[in-house]
Symmetry: C2
Subunit: 227 residues, 2 copies
């Protein structure tokens, strides 16, 4: 048995593999994975509509037949990619479930990790694709939201419920969490979605720090200043 392994960026696949028995499934799986990697890369790069199956086949060094056996159609491939992306997002977020105290530093850290995740080329591309193809895959749009933003919001809500006096807040805990996340991500996500700017990690941290400061003041329960 021998195999030739190609490296294409972060993408690994096998060709010309003469195997001992029982390895077939692995090969099939490897091909499938190679196709998904290629499709993912191309969808991120050019979007769903502009990516042709031939592109994907070329890049993955696979074949049309294999693609159709694994995914059934172009749409099937898209669904698989998006689902996988959601799964990855979920795992990344769960792995990131650090204990959270309501100090500036702690919230800034949470915010920066959240922003860093949401501004990943991957996250942005998935967002764009779903925004565009939302009529094709509406249930995956929900899935995306539920596995990316919602877990973080719920983590925040739990934390707030334990530490904040709901009576003294200017609005419900749910809204507090929503407003907080929005203030962190709103501007950044909007600009990055449009490909307008690529803020440095330092700039992002500074922005998040500003948002956190205003937020912590904001839920402090002191009387407002009118001008």
């Amino acid at each position: 048995m021998y195999c030739i392994v190609h490296f294409f960026g972060r993408q690994v696949f096998f060709t010309r593999i003469f195997m001992c028995s029982g390895v077939r499934k692995d090969l099939k799986e490897a091909r499938r994975q190679a196709m998904m990697d290629a499709a993912e890369a191309l969808f991120l790069e050019k979007g769903y509509g502009r990516t042709s199956l031939s592109d994907i086949i070329r890049r993955s060094k696979g074949s049309r037949t294999t693609l159709y056996e694994n995914f059934g159609s172009k749409e099937g491939l898209l669904r698989t990619i998006i689902k996988e992306a959601c799964l990855k997002a979920q795992q990344a977020i769960q792995a990131d479930d650090k204990p959270l105290s309501l100090t500036e530093e702690s919230l800034v850290d949470l915010g920066v990790r959240f922003a860093a995740f949401a501004l990943t080329p991957m996250s942005l591309a998935v967002f764009r694709i779903i925004a565009m193809e939302r009529k094709l895959i509406p249930e995956l749009a929900e899935n995306f939201f539920e596995t990316s933003i919602l877990p973080i919001r719920e983590q925040l809500i739990r934390r707030f419920q334990n530490s904040l006096d709901a009576e003294k807040l200017p609005c419900s805990i749910d809204r507090v969490a929503t407003v907080f996340l929005g203030s962190i991500l709103g501007d950044l996500h909007f600009r990055h979605s449009l490909g307008l700017s690529k803020d440095t990690p330092e700039e992002i941290r500074e922005h998040v720090r500003s948002a956190v400061r205003i937020f912590l003041n904001g839920i402090g329960g002191v009387e407002r200043k009118a001008a």
Copy 2:
């Protein structure tokens, strides 16, 4: 002279017009406008990639030749539509330049008008299209940002400069304005871009009110609470 006027939804165009002299230019302009209306509607509905020129020609009851004479190419048509949308946005925002005091009611009103504008099907569609085609029309992406978000932010910044003591703020005035707008729009725009939910005006107002309250507390300049 007589003309037959067709109504197709909000779209008006003329066919079979036998005119007195000098009206030709008007007809040409009407045709051009009909095409832009049709293209706009279709781009909003199906996106740029999924809309074919034949669709647009059919819907506008115009002809291929006219389309190419007016816009040169499909991309030219897209550019025209986006530019026009930016222009409309700019006008809508300028018309909306009410005097602003830093009271809760005043900021809620501003926020609600801002959100209402940004969550318009039109605004969302333009956003989606630019996000998707940003590599085709990068300068229009900038243009979009500069004519939609930026004017409002600058209006806020001017207002803040007049009324707030920069020394007492937790961060620069620019960031204050950015964070404020983000806290209002972040969550709403994200969900609406994905087509996930259609909040009622009441819900939007409640959300904006929450954001404004937290914000006004937040810039109050009091010491933060740590937990």
